[in-house]
């Protein structure tokens, strides 16, 4: 069968950005303001992004809690990350988060207040200080004000454009991005000296997840294929408290105020009790001090173990006993969640008067592409920010730290990319032939008369990841999963078929392209999980259940031909080391109490 070369439109951008969440938008705004001609690709409609789904809690040292400081925020970040964070990135996050929160207010966001010029603060997962700002419009408000800033600047947004690869020259320098316009089924090559990947995480690798359907780890896989390194990719954060049913809502986060109860504003108070089907408060076995107010990793694992060991509900959850006394403040602060509880569970649950079924769910990809503090990856011209980048959160992320992360590093990636392109100067269009050759490969499933449908393969991968590379892991199961992945790669991927003949919004075709990305990242996750022979943060090995100080180090993954090169590497600390606050690693909790 002779297949004609696919048609390809050629376009130019100084800086090409993939991802329409806050990291991508903040990068676009920064690159535009630095004088670059920017094009932003959104895989779906521009509002379909993970930021929009967030509760929008924003950790920053606002000055309104006099006990808090940037040093304390930094120390909390490292404590939560169990000491393997990239210290330099964590420091930048603590230092710049508040300035970026003010940027958002300048864009038009109205942070919650207790006084006209005083922000309302609360506690979210794992921190030792009352530090998180927020707004009633949550992630929706953050994305709306940013989108209107994009519109005001005339930044071009291409909806339904999925980045499939970055194209490099012989020296490995990025010369552009290959994308498919899913709404027309047309290939586009964006000739560009700098590409910023802000495509978010990989939550779609798991059967039950909290993120949007588009988060298939595309950008991380693209960077891996381009030669960039991944760090901490074995760490996947699970939110402990999410909906169990109906099917469409399964895995969606139930928000922390309902779970935290009075602890939401008082570090000494207890969170809502969690009970298994024997009525036992199982969390006490896992964290006798913080109990149900423990960090997300500990709680999610505790719940999953109850479910796996047969002490869950028939629907596959455990029971959370909320505090009805916080209902009024909950309704005021998070009205959307009260509505969700009402629709999904009933009025008594919505009023926090009856036990609520909860289960853990894949939330956030802690690892990602290795970058420096200006979001430069090891590949010249390739920048990565937001959830797709690794390092800042280490082995576990503080609740409320994703929002400042995407603002702080989104901006930095945009500034650095614009500067990089400016220094490079004008260059001729290169890489079209490589782009065309890659596009032709990705057309294969469209022309195959028979084979396996992509949704079926996606489900197989999701089940393997949920069962063996999720909250509970072991050597034998990880090896088994790697073997299964190899089989899928060799036997199944070359036999994918697409039912629809139309090129317009062909979901099966999109999923066929996503599958390679899912498999690339799933394999990297399983391989590095196998390597980390200890338990730390979000990574729990039943065969190595204790933390091992030898492993206060990062695992870095790089693709070498068809194989993954896995390397243990020392944690990136501050330069000079004396810049680490004297208080660290002493937990700062004492100061708060």
């Amino acid at each position: 069968m002779v297949i004609n070369q696919p048609e390809m439109a050629i376009e130019h951008a100084d800086v090409l950005i993939a991802g329409s969440g806050a990291a991508g938008m903040r990068a676009a705004i920064a690159a535009h303001d630095a004088g670059a001609n920017v094009v932003l690709l959104a895989k779906g409609p521009r509002r379909a992004n993970h930021t929009r789904m967030s509760g929008g809690r924003y950790n920053a040292v606002s000055g309104f809690n006099p006990q808090d400081s940037t040093d304390a925020f930094f120390a909390d970040t490292l404590e939560s990350g169990v000491g393997i964070n990239n210290y330099r990135m964590a420091r930048v996050l603590a230092d710049e988060a508040m300035d970026r929160a003010f940027d958002l207010e300048g864009y038009g966001l109205a942070w919650d207040r207790t006084d006209p010029s005083k922000y309302y603060l609360s506690m979210t997962g794992g921190g030792n200080f009352v530090r998180s700002m927020g707004s009633v419009d949550e992630g929706i408000g953050i994305t709306e004000v940013m989108l209107h800033q994009m519109h005001a600047r005339g930044i071009r947004v291409c909806d339904f454009h999925m980045l499939t690869d970055v194209i490099q020259d012989d020296d490995g320098r990025v010369v552009g991005g290959l994308a498919i316009d899913l709404s027309r089924g047309v290939w586009r090559f964006f000739s560009s000296g700098a590409v910023i990947i802000a495509t978010g995480g990989t939550s779609q690798l798991y059967e039950t997840s909290s993120g949007p359907a588009i988060n298939t780890g595309d950008g991380i896989a693209i960077a891996l294929r381009a030669g960039a390194e991944l760090v901490d990719i074995e760490f996947m954060q699970f939110i402990p408290i999410s909906f169990v049913y109906p099917p469409s809502a399964r895995g969606y986060t139930l928000t922390e105020p309902a779970h935290y109860g009075k602890r939401h504003t008082d570090p000494n108070a207890e969170a809502a009790h969690l009970l298994n089907n024997k009525g036992e408060r199982f969390a006490l076995r896992h964290d006798p001090v913080r109990k149900e107010g423990s960090t997300r990793d500990v709680l999610a694992r505790a719940i999953m173990l109850e479910i796996l060991e047969g002490r869950g509900t028939p629907e596959g959850g455990v029971l959370m006993v909320p505090d009805a006394a916080v209902f009024d403040s909950f309704l005021k602060e998070r009205p959307i969640y009260v509505k969700r509880l009402l629709e999904n569970y009933g009025e008594a649950q919505a009023r926090l008067q009856a036990p609520i079924q909860v289960m853990p769910s894949a939330l956030y990809t802690l690892g990602g592409v290795v970058v420096d503090t200006w979001c430069r990856s090891g590949v010249p011209g390739l920048f990565v920010s937001g959830e797709a980048a690794g390092g800042v959160h280490g082995a576990n992320r503080l609740g409320g730290s994703s929002m400042p992360d995407i603002q702080v590093f989104g901006r930095r990636s945009g500034m650095a990319a614009a500067e990089d392109v400016r220094a490079l100067g004008a260059r001729e269009v290169r890489g079209i032939e490589r782009a065309k050759a890659r596009a032709q490969t990705l057309e294969a499933a469209m022309h195959r008369p028979d084979g396996v449908r992509p949704p079926e393969v996606k489900k197989r991968i999701q089940k393997l990841m949920w069962d063996h590379v999720g909250l509970v892991r072991s050597g034998p199961r990880l090896e088994e999963t790697l073997r299964a992945f190899r089989e899928i790669r060799e036997q199944v991927l070359p036999n994918l078929k697409v039912t629809a003949k139309s090129r317009v919004l062909n979901r099966e075709w999109m999923e066929a392209i996503e599958l390679e990305n899912l498999l690339d990242i799933g394999e990297a996750m399983a391989a590095s999980s196998l390597q980390r022979k200890e338990t730390r943060g979000a990574h729990y090995r039943t065969d190595f259940p204790a933390l091992d100080p030898q492993w206060t180090a990062n695992i870095v993954v790089q693709r070498k031909g068809a194989n993954l090169n896995i390397e243990k590497r020392a944690v990136v600390t501050l330069d000079p080391p004396s810049a680490v606050p004297a208080a660290f690693p002493q937990p700062a909790r004492a100061a708060a109490r």
Partner: protein, 233 residues
């Protein structure tokens, strides 16, 4: 807390503008939990019966606002609407259709862009907390939590008959009008966008998946038209 199952019939509008002269309807039966959403039905059809179905969703929890469809003629978010025994599922009107259930939002985004929905400041932002009363901040956030899902625009009888952009756009203008830092003439923009064509039927408010009231925004603007905005523009 156990759940029962239900079998529903879904008639889905199929249309590929590049290939088909006319749209047609295809019928499917789907069995699932009785509190499943319309989106669960559509996803099941795609996964098990019609791999060539074009549909759109992302968050599945009523936040991205991209899964809007008409169910038995009523615009809804597919992820929020509980399934019914018999459903005719169609794309949102009056928008151009890309394929099957997915609309082309190009003109919608262009309209938002033209409205300049950033605070029009007379003085540059100081980079510190602005003085906003807590209750007003909360109100601003409610207005800003519009999903831009186009459910209200699709439902609005005035949009169908008269030169009116639609309730969603007035709501966003109202957000800016209430923002202390904004000095744009939002009232004039609302009038230019056809606000006065609104019948006052309140359908937009009744159907809003985010529980907002575009109708109230329109009423407030109309009041200002008579009594003034009390704000220098």
């Amino acid at each position: 807390m156990t759940t029962t199952t239900i079998t529903v019939t879904a008639e889905i509008r199929r249309f590929d503008p590049a290939q088909d002269a006319e749209p047609h309807y295809q019928q499917f039966q789907v069995t699932g939990m009785d509190n499943m959403r319309v989106l669960d039905v559509i996803r099941s059809v795609y996964e098990n019966q019609a791999g060539d179905l074009a549909y759109q969703f992302a968050c599945r929890i009523g936040r991205c606002g991209t899964c809007g469809v008409r169910v038995n003629g009523v615009p809804v978010l597919a992820c929020q609407e509980r399934c019914k025994p018999h459903m005719r599922i169609e794309p949102l009107t009056p928008f151009p259709v890309l394929r099957d259930l997915v609309i082309d939002r190009t003109e919608v985004e262009a309209r938002y862009s033209e409205l300049h929905l950033t605070p029009q400041r007379t003085q540059a932002y100081t980079g510190k907390a602005e003085a906003i009363e807590p209750a007003l901040a909360e109100h601003l956030c409610h207005l800003d939590s519009c999903l831009a899902c186009m459910v209200c625009v699709s439902a609005c009888p005035a949009v169908a008959e008269r030169p009116f952009d639609g309730p969603a756009f007035v709501l966003k203008l109202r957000h800016m009008a209430k923002h202390p830092a904004d000095h744009g003439n939002r009232l004039q923009q609302a009038v230019d966008g056809g606000m006065l064509e609104c019948f006052g039927c309140d359908l937009c408010t009744q159907l809003c998946p985010a529980d907002l009231s575009p109708a109230q925004a329109i009423r407030e603007f109309r009041k200002e038209l008579v009594f003034g905005t009390g704000k220098e523009s």
